[in-house]
């Protein structure tokens, strides 16, 4: 059966024109056009950060960034898929680090090249104020950086667009690790729970859960949600 033309749009994948359904995301548009994606694609739910991509829309000079699984195509869109981000990643032992500005200076010296252009923030598909957490790190405020960057899914678009070649998402990961290890308020409840888990308190329940069929599991899950409300 022929699809009506009104429901199709033209997109340019790596320069070549393809007609795709207008409700396609960038990923489904590529697959519809015959591309087989083996990398640069992951959960397809906007969580894993594997499918970061850049695109441009018709009549707009701005190069935009987004997650290919969440971005719906528009007519005349020019797009591509980025398979891998060759960004620098320092190796460190968290146990040997101190949560202060010297650690940041040592592991991410590029942060001090930031000119506050805000291009990273504009590129972020998670609407995180990326520049603000880089500026927080520049001041040595690790807690603030951890807080601002909390929703980061490490897609890498910030680093891809940064004129100072800062690898923001790796620095943010370090900030959150430092925060979790050294700065966060300790909660004895968590330690107790860990001990309980180690002692096997939940083993029986877990075993029951893993053996449940999908239907029962689903029922139990939604019953739990209702109970919470």
């Amino acid at each position: 059966m022929m699809k009506s033309k009104e429901n199709m749009v033209t997109v340019y994948i790596m320069g070549d024109a393809y007609n795709v359904p207008e409700s396609s995301t960038i990923i489904t548009a590529m697959e519809y056009s015959g591309f087989q994606l083996t990398t640069g694609v992951g959960c397809r739910e906007g969580f894993c950060g594997a499918c970061a991509t850049i695109y441009r829309e018709k009549g707009d000079y701005k190069l935009k960034g987004g997650l290919a699984c969440q971005t719906v195509v528009t007519d005349g869109m020019t797009l591509a898929q980025i398979p891998f981000m060759p960004a620098e990643k320092p190796i460190y032992d968290l146990k040997e680090l101190k949560p202060d500005i010297n650690t940041i200076k040592e592991l991410f010296p590029t942060i001090f090249r930031c000119v506050s252009c805000n291009t990273c923030t504009k590129a972020c598909p998670q609407d995180i104020d990326v520049m603000d957490y880089i500026q927080a790190l520049k001041k040595g405020n690790i807690a603030e950086a951890a807080d601002i960057s909390f929703d980061c899914i490490r897609c890498g678009l910030c680093a891809l667009r940064c004129p100072a070649e800062i690898v923001q998402y790796n620095a943010a990961t370090l900030a959150r690790r430092l925060y979790g290890s050294y700065l966060a308020k300790k909660s004895p409840e968590v330690d107790e729970s860990i001990e309980d888990i180690k002692a096997g308190k939940y083993d029986k329940e877990l075993e029951e859960l893993t053996k449940m069929d999908r239907k029962t599991l689903s029922e139990k899950y939604y019953a739990r949600e209702t109970k919470l409300r």
């Binding site: 500005i101 930031c114 000119v115 506050s116 252009c117 805000n118 923030t121 504009k122 520049m131 603000d132 500026q135 520049k138 001041k139 040595g140 405020n141 004129p163």
Partner: protein, 297 residues
Amino acid sequence: MKIPYYPGCTLKSTAKHFENSAIESAKALGIEFVELPKWNCCGVVTPLAEDDIMHHVAPVRNLIRVLEMNKSGAVNDEKRLLTLCSMCFNTLKRSTLRIKEKVDDLDVLNDFMYKEEDYDGSVEVVHFLEILRENGFDEIKKQVKKSLENLKIAPYYGCMLLRPKDIGIDDAERPTIFNDLLTSLSAEPIEWRAKNKCCGSFLTLDNKEIVSRLGYDILTNAQKSGADLIVTSCPLCAFNLDNRQKIIKQKHPEFEEIPVLYFTQLMAIAFDLDKEVMGLDGNYINPVPLLESKGIL
């Protein structure tokens, strides 16, 4: 009076005692610092190349925050931005002047920062010392609760408060603003040669040799001129003159260490504010024995 306040990175880390003593001393004078709700690096070094607009983005972004504060009502029709660090003061103010001189640059900047409100060139960057001068040194005199009479102080201006001429808050060769402040605090400012000599600035990172040589000259000149201690307003000068005394002492074993204080610490002492506000444990060379021997603490 409520005034927008730009701290800068050192005021939140190595110069925390500068910030605390400034905020509290200002409060005693009825001046309230309202920190910008969001701020980024001042830019640190002013680009001198005609076509370098990129490095004005950082300073201008901070200036936009002042407009936002006026809009939100955080301050009431106060478009002056107060700074404490001499370097931040210099960098931010130079950007305001550059934009006034080359209006076309402002269009480029605004177009580039399209997510922000447009900057309109209306913010004026001021240093805390200027606000103190405007407020009147007599007002400071009224707040003095502890006499600093026996204290001979070398006011160190450095370069960023005074140069270039259109930025400077005082005469570049014969500045007096610190002298006026110190006199109003009942201390005795001394006259000395090295008050506006270079401290070595950023060379402190990769050429400690030069910085300690310059520091030795400045510090010994202050001592020969009879100073008990030095005051300054610049965290980088303070670092070079205070912390680098360690290297100076190694090179010149006969050298006697001399405390270096922020002018606001001295205000906190004279106003008899809390010990915590004075922040005397933040200085590398401990000023407490000297202040005790003078009967001040």
